[in-house]
Amino acid sequence: MTINEKQDEIIEEFDLFDDQLDKTQYIIDLGKKLPPMPEQYLTDENRIMGCQSKVWLGAEIQGDTLHFYGDAEPTAQISKGLISLLIRVLSDEKPENIAQADLYFIDRVGMGSLVTSRRAGGLASMLQRMKEYGREYAAPAQ
């Protein structure tokens, strides 16, 4: 499945809910299912400095794709849900595709302001960091 196919699939899932609060509930529920981050990635280096909640991101090249690990502090459940969505869309993709991805699904699930603004508790920075990883790992192949 391509990045855009994954995004379209997520949009379809969220379209089942009319109410924004139900969409948010779905994000929270996804956050609860986010697997805990492997201990070795929970480092200060992997901490994304953001506004309000603590967020971590780790990346590992596996063959020709990039695998992401992400987590947020235990109480930050919306952040965890959004991280799980970002990972679902971008993880295990080729670095160059990650670097070039246009993540239109974020607005469609009603979380645009959370992921792209300062309110995001680091999620805007997290997305930026994922793309940086993409660019970094894509570079040697070019």
């Binding site: 924004q20 609060l21 948010t24 929270i28 309000q52 459940q77 952040s79 309110r119 508790g121």
Partner: protein, 411 residues
């Protein structure tokens, strides 16, 4: 004290604030972020528009009619602020860009001229970053020592500890009148009197107090008092520094430029008199003029009436929130303005804020620019609801329902 503002009065008040009548995320707006900035009555909006439509001109030196009108209105605000503060002299009212600007002005002029290595500056644990950082910058430059008045777990200052800190080394005390994060009203008169006993100069940060508490700088006897207009139903980008005349006279100017000079030659410049010595450049004329209208608006309601009504809202909110299981109110000081900070068990304040916003309820979440205070309280941040005169008990009910919904969603 029972408020004389009836529910009908409050409905009328709400009509003065057009911004309140809107849907946010499909729900009627409940604006509970008044400690960050409160909304502006239509009279203030009209004053701004009127100035630009009829009187816009640069002030003080213009010979034409518009300049005279603009100057006249600009200086009327100074007189209005003088009476608002009960300052002895009109020239003790300096217009700034806000509370932060006022504190920096004092730190960079009084502080740099009169404070020296080893001198002690006292602030408190409750301070906003804007009343911490300017003093740290000064300490770094001049080798002064910063001391901090501790608090108890309720958010009250430990005045005994403050008293012990004071000595002949204490040269300056800069303390917040009302805590923005917790709502604590500090015993500023005691703080000033104790500081004066050792000869220290005192600044009071009135950012949060100015719209809730009747001010009298002569009775308080503080040396400086600062506040921002946007927290008293006025425009952003305008503030006031009150200073005792003798101190302001002794201080060097802050910024150089037009207006603050008497005569300029390439060899030497002489400075203007108070208050203009501290008002370099074209000031924020429109917003200054509109501040008079903001103060008049508060006067029309009666500041005591407003305070009594806001006190009722605080009591009601405190009682309702205390009934929510898993909610802990942070800051239970003996005297508070209408601010309630709280934490929810197992729920991040950011998530609380996001979900409340989706229900049309505007609150503030985070550390409220008081990171050292949050550290002292052992928390990363809070959710803060702060009430103004246009808020209602129905809105507090909606907040409580919203919080319960947050808890259900997170369970």
């Amino acid at each position: 004290m029972q408020s004389v503002l009836s529910p009908i009065d409050i409905q009328r008040v709400r009509q003065d604030f057009p911004i309140l009548d809107q849907l946010v995320n499909g729900k009627p707006l409940v604006y509970l972020d008044n400690a960050a900035t409160n909304q502006k009555p239509v009279s203030v909006l009209n004053a701004l528009a009127h100035y630009y439509e009829h009187d816009n001109a640069n002030i003080h030196r213009g010979i034409h009619t518009l300049a005279e009108r603009a100057t006249h209105d600009f200086e009327l605000t100074r007189q209005k602020v003088q009476s608002f503060l009960n300052a002895q002299h009109v020239e003790e009212v300096i217009f700034t860009y806000g509370t932060t600007d006022g504190i920096n002005l004092v730190a960079q002029t009084y502080g740099r001229k009169f404070l020296n290595e080893g001198d002690e500056i006292i602030i408190s644990t409750l301070e906003h970053h804007s009343n911490i950082v300017p003093w740290q910058m000064l300490c770094e430059e001049k080798g002064c020592v910063l001391k901090v008045i501790p608090i108890d777990d309720n958010g009250d200052l430990l005045i005994d500890e403050y008293e012990k800190m004071l000595s002949e080394r204490t040269k300056f005390v800069s303390v917040v009148h009302v805590s923005n994060a917790l709502g604590t009203i500090n015993p500023v008169k005691t703080i000033v009197d104790l500081a004066h006993r050792v000869g220290a100069v005192v600044l009071i940060d009135g950012a949060q107090a100015s719209s809730h508490i009747t001010l009298d700088v002569q009775a308080l006897d503080c040396d400086f008092y600062v506040f921002s207009a946007h927290k008293l139903y006025g425009p952003t980008g305008m503030g006031v520094l009150y200073g005792k005349k003798a101190l302001l006279d002794a201080m060097p100017p802050y910024r150089g430029g037009g207006e603050m000079i008497k005569e300029v030659t390439f060899e030497k410049t002489t400075y203007n008199e108070l208050p203009y010595k501290f008002e370099a450049g074209t000031p924020n004329i429109a917003d200054v003029i509109a501040v008079r209208t903001a103060i008049e608006y508060m006067e029309s309601l009666g500041k005591e009436n407003m305070a009594a009504y806001e006190g009722e809202l605080l009591d009601y909110a405190t009682a309702q929130l205390a009934d929510v299981p898993g909610l802990r109110i942070v800051g239970q000081a003996k005297e508070k303005i209408s601010v309630v900070s709280f934490v929810l068990d197992g729920i991040h304040h950011q998530d609380t804020g996001v979900i409340l916003d989706q229900m049309g309820i505007a609150v503030r979440t985070g550390h409220h620019c008081t990171q050292p205070l949050m550290r002292r309280l052992g928390i990363a941040g809070t959710t803060r609801a702060s009430f103004a005169v246009y808020n209602t008990k129905d809105e507090i009910d909606r907040l409580v329902q919203g919080i319960r919904r947050v808890q259900t969603m997170m369970a």
